[in-house]
């Protein structure tokens, strides 16, 4: 659980107000591993929406681009001027694709003959670099996607020269994977109209694509398979919806070729070929929503079924994918297709359900697991098959339950549970020997099964009745096998124990599963069993930090579930007893030398007090332990993550009145002490995480009207903002603005109470800021902070500040216009200061601000305009095609200069 480095490069253009720009690079470290479903840190900064800066206005072929294009084509065609950067060509291609989306390709080519010249030049590949060759192939494909342009290019046999048998295949550059990839992508782009199908059939390209399926380059091989799928899909398009679906023999030539190639591959004894064929079919059935699929399946299903007769079954994973793809298709019939329940298929010997059932039966448990899960996730599926699939998923757990049952004497509880688990399900034949064929196989299968069942329980398709009790029992037994506390009597169980003892992977998976099982209803006996095993995992010195974290998460879920079970918001008596034993364990974990453990324990404590901090029994248990005191001590932990978690935990404890000191006078003092401690962390801690956590706690305290904060809110806000304004961490500054927003909302609400039931006239609701409200704002260093943030070199800070000012303006001076601004009070000195700040002279203070001047300033700023500009990606100007073309030309020019220098 190490720190995860995340670097962000954020160029900010804040020249919105009066021109000028500023920018800087900010790098921040963030940690992974927050609680599931709970975001404890600041949210990541918003990414720029590329769509917003991709307006048609900047991407069309404008005169400037037209002017630059011939030069660029000449450069590309010139082998002596190599393109230095591959990404330029990619960007160029993207741009051309965008252009052809809105404009006629034919027109483009006619207006810019240099492009055709470039493509023609490529026909002499010895003069072209492989990069440009690949680019040209893809470019030609992009142009030929429009049928008229395709015809235009065909006239000059340009396409045949590029994609035909006499074309690219004969080039020496064909040995370079990027060229082969470009060739395939070009064809893929081209295959958009019926003419393309004829071209593909006549040019012999399809045969080449077949051979490329086995290409040594995985990218090429994958693209080849995709192309086949694409061609097949194209062949099925454009038919009259009402006309009967022809048999495969009457399909377009291309489609026939592909189907017969797939058939041949399925007959092959070589596993890679079978895999290729199955992958093509999987993608086809996954993508194509056409009634033709039914015919295709009818044609191929006997061959697929015949694969099951082989031993071993070739390409089992691909087969699973295909069957699930086909089965999912069956559940789609909203568009008029009849689905798999059609009379034709249901009577066929090789219907998908039959093959699915056979496959489930034939595959090994590990291979069958994903298929079983996929089957159960289907929207529509025969009940019998669901039962079989569920049986497959349950098999490993049933096997464990059986093995750990008492061997001699009458069958014990576990045995009954095992039979309960597999009641009415097929395939309960797995033995411990199968399970234990090897340690890694056993561990892999168990982890997979637990993960599948965990996923299944949260889905609407979850089988019903859900065998909650046996599953709970199985999870507990697995955990006991892992920690070595199981006492199995049979030899199989002994071996299981030996295999699973100390296996962290299985422990983690079982704890996750156990946590999910808390959603179901469990008898009291089982809950006690669960609490016991959770406690064992929490207190065991052998538990690794990751296992502990999972155990904490599962514990929280079970405590929540015990509330559900007890029917009221209080913890059940069993849960309270458990808590009594839990706190000493938590105490020990808070003293662990391993920081991950201290951190997880603090996070757990935060969640505990968040949920049950108000409950008397919980409070009593917690306060009688040393946990609050230890949490306070961890504010000085050497590890910053732990300090951050300690800040969150103590903040939570104190806001619930759960601090360590019992008496009221001490209480106050301690609380003040914590406030000061947190202030100290905010202003001095060298790491960002604790500072961010402090601000989150402060914001929450302010929001909740916490007594300490409410006592002197203005002092509190002033002190916090002074510290935050010096902070180098942009997330802290954003969080500071969040605190300001909460303060503003509260202050505004105080001065302008609103009654939702009061009948008011429209003019009465128009915001007329309370003079005291404005005075309060001017009294605090609030404006200085927000305006500085507006010119922050980190865009999210500036955005947040801008939003905040907009909110403030709307609340205080919404109706004013520029005319009014000029007549308003003099805010010139402030504007001068702002101007300087923007130019980078941040040293100058803003000076005293009168309420009227502040209002005038708010009115005078073009905040909407600024907001729009801040929303744009920082490189939106550099992304323009002109810039790209200029850059490419400039790079070549540079190279030329260098060459000249050499001579």
């Amino acid at each position: 659980m190490g720190p995860e480095k995340r670097r962000g490069l954020w160029w900010c253009e804040a020249k919105a107000l009066w021109g000028g720009a500023c920018g800087c690079v900010e790098r921040s470290l963030r940690r992974g591993g927050a609680w599931v479903g709970v975001e404890k840190r600041n949210p990541p900064r918003p990414e720029a929406d590329p769509g917003k800066c991709r307006g048609a206005s900047v991407l069309i072929m404008d005169p400037e681009c037209s002017r630059l294009l011939p030069a660029l084509c000449a450069v590309l065609a010139d082998p002596r001027q190599p393109v230095a950067d591959d990404t330029c060509l990619e960007k160029l291609l993207d741009w051309f694709k965008t252009v052809t989306e809105t404009e006629s390709s034919l027109q483009l080519l006619q207006d810019h003959p240099c492009l055709v010249e470039l493509l023609s030049h490529v026909l002499k590949p010895q003069d072209v670099s492989p990069r440009v060759l690949s680019f040209a192939l893809r470019l030609a494909g992009a142009f030929a996607a429009q049928e008229d342009c395709f015809q235009y290019l065909q006239q000059g046999d340009l396409l045949l020269g590029l994609f035909g048998e006499a074309g690219a295949l004969g080039w020496s550059a064909w040995s370079i994977p990027s060229v082969r990839s470009g060739w395939i992508q070009g064809l893929c782009a081209l295959a958009h109209h019926p003419s393309a199908l004829h071209f593909l059939a006549d040019s012999g390209a399809v045969d080449t694509v077949f051979s490329l399926q086995g290409d040594p380059s995985l990218f090429v091989a994958s693209a080849a398979s995709q192309l086949l799928v694409y061609i097949l899909a194209l062949s099925m398009q454009g038919r009259d919806a009402g006309s009967p679906i022809p048999e495969v023999a009457a399909w377009p030539v291309c489609a026939q070729k592909i189907v017969s190639h797939v058939q041949e591959s399925l007959h092959s004894t070589a596993a890679p070929q079978v895999t290729q064929a199955l992958n093509v079919l999987t993608t086809t059935f996954g993508r194509c929503r056409s009634p033709w699929m039914e015919v295709l399946w009818g044609q191929l299903s006997p061959l697929v079924a015949s694969l099951l007769k082989r031993d071993p079954i070739p390409a089992a994973h691909s087969l699973v994918d295909l069957l699930l793809s086909v089965a999912r298709l069956g559940s789609w019939d909203a568009a008029g297709w009849r689905g798999w329940e059609s009379p034709v298929l249901s009577s066929a010997a090789c219907g998908p359900w039959e093959i699915l059932a056979q496959t489930l039966h034939r595959l090994s448990p590990t291979q069958a697991g994903p298929l079983a899960l996929g089957t159960l996730k289907l929207q529509r599926c025969p009940q019998e098959l669901r039962t079989q699939a569920f049986g497959i998923l349950l098999q490993p757990l049933a096997c464990i339950l059986k093995a750990t049952a008492q061997a001699p004497g009458p069958p014990g509880k576990s045995y009954h549970l095992a039979s309960g688990l597999l009641d009415g399900t097929a395939g309960g034949s797995m033995t411990v020997d199968t399970l234990l064929s090897s340690k890694s196989a056993c561990v892999g299968l168990l982890c997979q099964t637990l993960a599948h069942l965990e996923e299944l329980q949260t889905l609407p398709q979850c089988p019903s009745p859900w065998p909650q009790e046996p599953l709970l029992d199985a999870a507990v037994i697995i955990l006991r096998l892992c920690d070595g506390s199981a006492d199995p009597s049979s030899s199989g169980a002994g071996r299981l124990c030996g295999t699973l003892a100390g296996c962290i992977r299985v422990q983690r998976a079982a704890l996750d599963f156990l946590g999910t099982l808390s959603q179901g209803m469990s008898p009291q006996e089982s809950m006690l069993q669960v609490f016991a095993i959770l406690l064992k995992n929490l207190e065991s010195p052998e538990s690794s930090p990751t296992v502990l974290k999972k155990a904490f998460q599962a514990t929280l879920r079970w405590l929540q579930s015990s509330v559900k079970t007890s029917g009221c918001s209080d913890l059940s008596p069993d849960a309270l007893l458990f808590l009594g034993e839990l706190f000493p364990v938590l105490q020990k974990r808070l003293c662990s030398p391993c920081w991950e453990v201290r951190d997880s324990a603090l996070e757990f404590l935060t969640h505990l007090s968040q949920h049950w901090g108000g409950q008397a029994d919980f409070r009593e248990e917690l306060q009688s332990s040393e946990v609050p005191m230890l949490a306070c001590q961890l504010l000085q932990d050497p590890e910053s993550y732990v300090r951050a978690s300690a800040v969150a935990a103590t903040g939570q404890l104190f806001s619930r009145g759960l601090q360590a000191t019992p008496t009221s006078s001490e209480n106050l003092q301690a609380q003040q002490g914590l406030l000061m401690d947190l202030m100290y962390i905010l202003s001095t801690d060298s790491e960002g995480f604790p500072r961010r956590a402090v601000l989150q706690v402060f914001t929450q305290w302010l929001r909740d009207g916490h007594a300490d904060v409410a006592r002197d809110t203005e002092w509190f806000v002033t002190t916090v903002l002074q510290a935050v304004s010096r902070d180098l961490d942009w997330e802290v500054r954003v969080q500071g603005l969040e605190l300001v927003q909460v303060f503003l909302t509260q202050t505004l609400g105080r001065f302008r109470p609103r009654c939702p039931y009061a009948v008011t006239l429209p003019e009465a609701t128009s915001p007329t800021p309370h003079p005291e409200f404005l005075r309060t704002l001017c009294r605090l260093p609030l404006f200085e902070f927000v305006f500085r943030a507006l010119f922050d070199c980190d865009r999210p800070v500036a955005q947040k500040a801008c939003d905040l000012l907009l909110f403030l303006r709307d609340e205080t001076a919404p109706s004013s216009g520029p005319q009014e601004t000029r007549d308003g009070p003099n805010s010139a000195s402030v504007e001068v200061a702002l101007q300087r700040w923007q130019e980078g002279e941040q040293g100058q203070p803003l000076g005293d601000l009168e309420p009227e001047a502040m209002l005038a300033l708010l009115r005078s700023l073009d905040l909407e305009g600024l907001q729009g500009k801040l929303a744009k990606s920082s490189d939106h100007i550099e992304k323009s095609p002109q810039s790209l073309l200029q850059d490419m030309l400039a790079t070549v020019g540079m190279l030329e200069e260098n060459e000249a220098d050499c001579y």
Binding site: C497, T499, P541, E542, S543, C591, D637, E639
Partner: protein, 625 residues
């Protein structure tokens, strides 16, 4: 090739290997668990211990009440603690040529062997092993000698009396062979017979075999040994570790291609992961001290304590324990802490590189400098002036039967604020605590044993692929308390051969080749044969110097042999089949005759006449030539 197994303790081995006319003792471990049957030796007069009631038999007999005392339902011998020595009768130990020591814990019986058996050979060990071994012995002798005991109990050892005693005294084995601790004089004399060796140094033994120590990664200077001739290689693996602690890492590669790998000294707590235990140790220590309690850590003066101090060095600041004093009390504390810093070449790479900075390799130097760690030879003297509570005390002996630890147990045992944390795995903590009951202080068991566990052994065996593995019988079956844990045993092919105490094992090993050198001239005859070991060998090489013993051949048919025995007046004969032959048990005479394919042993208790009679009966079945 034969292996004589003299110790039943798998981590304190003592075996003798006969290989190519050399007799090599492998380790010299002393089983000190016998001391648990004795009352602790209090450094300061303990009214509680001295007032314990004497034990009386069920019938009211009180003749043992001076020797045996009762404490909370347990019976203890009120005498100087005694130790269970390696078997001395199985083989004539004066014939041992060399003793190879693998680590300082496995040499504690050395004075008993070198000083009392007629041993005239050489002992080989690395320098840290010798120095730290000396410290351990010195500490033990000091602990026992400074609390002189007036009486010595021996009555209870009588077989008839022992039978009447409660467990565990009743079940204690070979109590008559238990011995008191040696003296410093014996220690010095024993250690003077040691010749220092370095890792990978090749030592020739009489030109017949070559022995080489290899780093075993367990402790400072700890070694495994390679014993090889021109065509055979035996590896002796004892107390090895693959974890990254302070010693040099284990040399695995050199163990490859062994014909026989003798495997001892695996972890005693295979289910406990040392990392988890260190975490547990720190957490419990911090919790106790924060509550104002004291922590007592019974430990040896060297070994894991170095790692614990290093761990605490990193931990105490983060846990807010900087102001808590740490005391290390041992007569050899100072030497131990200093020795650890000077054996740089025996340390792991990280620590070695520190020496060149120059910095002390272990951070406990800094703890001492900053007064966070203080060390004292005993609780008497300076310690009593400096003593401040709450504190953490590291002191011996881990058996809780002698040393300063006894005083702290008496002092702190009554308060539940205090905690005793057991980190040494050699003694059962429940048995160790038995004479201190009832006890209010908290007890935490965090055994830290860095030696190989079974998973690591399995990987090691896969890596080095010996032809045969020989190990103590405890390793060939799961621990008795966890009989279902099939993973807690050695799993290899072919299955490991096992041995137990007092067993002689013919190693599955056929010597097929021998390298000989034929000189054109006969070697010169020794003019004056002396009684020295090496001369004796020379004389053996010259056939005409001694009378040839007749060679014997043939096998002994068991049934006929039994009939012969009966004819000669032996009754109550019982025959047991073993994997290698038969054992004929003469129950009345308490004598065993082991009949195996290539050897016959007569084991009888100090009755030479009986032995000779039986030998003659055996000889009748064999042909001489």
């Amino acid at each position: 090739m034969k292996l004589y197994c003299l110790s039943g303790h798998p981590t304190l081995p003592c075996n003798v290997l006969k290989f190519k006319s050399t007799t090599i003792m492998l380790d010299c471990g002393l089983d000190m668990t016998s001391t648990l049957n004795f009352l602790p030796l209090p450094l300061v007069q303990s009214p509680r211990l001295s007032n314990l009631p004497g034990w009386s038999l069920k019938d009211g007999s009180v003749f043992l009440d001076k020797e045996l005392k009762e404490c909370s339902g347990h019976v203890f011998v009120d005498s100087v603690p005694e130790f269970c020595l390696p078997e001395t009768e199985l083989i004539d130990l004066s014939t041992v040529d060399v003793i190879l020591i693998s680590n300082y814990h496995c040499m504690m019986a050395l004075p008993y062997i070198t000083e009392h058996t007629g041993f005239t050979g050489t002992v080989y060990a690395t320098e840290p092993t010798v120095q730290i071994g000396r410290l351990l012995m010195e500490e033990l002798v000091n602990f026992i000698e400074r609390v002189p005991k007036a009486q010595s109990a021996s009555l209870w050892k009588n077989k008839d009396v022992q039978r009447l005693l409660p467990s565990p005294l009743k079940d204690a084995v070979e109590v008559t062979t238990w011995r008191r601790c040696y003296t410093m004089q014996e220690v010095n004399s024993a250690l003077s017979k040691i010749q220092l060796v370095g890792y990978s140094q090749k030592i020739e033994l009489f030109g017949a075999v070559q022995v080489t120590p290899l780093s075993s990664g367990y402790a400072l200077g700890s070694s495994n040994w390679i014993i090889q001739s021109h065509y055979e290689k035996v590896s002796y693996v004892s107390g090895s570790s693959l974890l990254t602690t302070h010693p040099q890492p284990m040399d695995q590669a050199s163990l490859k291609n062994s014909d026989v790998l003798l495997l001892t000294g695996l972890t005693q707590i295979p289910t406990a992961n040392p990392d988890g235990m260190v975490g547990e140790f720190c957490s419990n220590l911090a919790l106790t001290v924060r509550n104002g309690g004291n922590v007592l850590v019974p430990c040896y003066p060297s070994g894991v304590i170095y790692d614990l101090l290093e761990c605490l060095y990193q931990y105490i600041d983060s846990a807010g324990l900087s102001s808590i004093p740490f005391y290390f009390i041992s007569p050899v504390a100072n030497s131990s802490l200093e020795f650890s810093q000077i054996f740089a070449e025996w340390l792991c790479h990280n620590k070695q590189s520190k020496v060149y900075l120059p910095e002390p390799p272990f951070p406990h130097a800094e703890l001492i400098q900053t007064n966070k760690l203080k060390h004292y030879p005993s609780i008497h003297g300076d310690f009593s002036n400096d003593f401040r509570q709450p504190c953490v005390v590291f002191t011996g002996h881990p058996s809780l039967r002698c040393g300063d630890v006894v005083h702290f147990m008496e002092l702190w045992g009554k308060s539940s604020l205090n905690t005793v944390i057991f980190t040494e795995p050699d003694f059962s903590y429940l048995e160790a605590l038995a004479p201190y009951q009832p006890l209010a202080m908290k007890c935490v068991y965090c055994p830290i044993d860095t030696r190989l566990n079974f998973i690591q052994v399995s990987k090691l065996l896969k890596e080095v692929q010996p032809l045969h593995v020989v190990c103590p019988e405890q390793y060939t079956q799961p621990p008795p308390a966890q009989s279902h844990r099939m993973d807690l045993m050695i799993d290899c092919q072919p299955p490991a051969m096992s041995y137990r105490r007092a067993e002689v094992l013919a190693l599955p090993f056929k010597r097929r080749y021998e390298k000989i050198e034929i000189m054109p001239e006969p070697p010169p005859r020794p003019t004056q044969p002396t009684s020295s070991k090496k001369r004796k060998r020379v004389s053996e090489d010259v056939p005409d110097c001694k009378v040839l013993k007749p060679l014997l051949s043939g096998s002994i048919p068991v049934e006929q042999f039994v009939q012969t025995l009966e004819k000669h007046g032996f009754s109550d004969i019982k025959v047991e089949d073993t994997a290698k032959g038969h054992i004929v048990l003469l129950q009345e005479a308490e004598t065993l005759i082991q009949l195996e394919e290539d050897s016959t042993h007569i084991i009888c208790d100090n009755d030479e006449t009986l032995r000779v009679r039986l030998r003659d009966l055996v000889l009748k079945f064999l042909q001489k030539f």
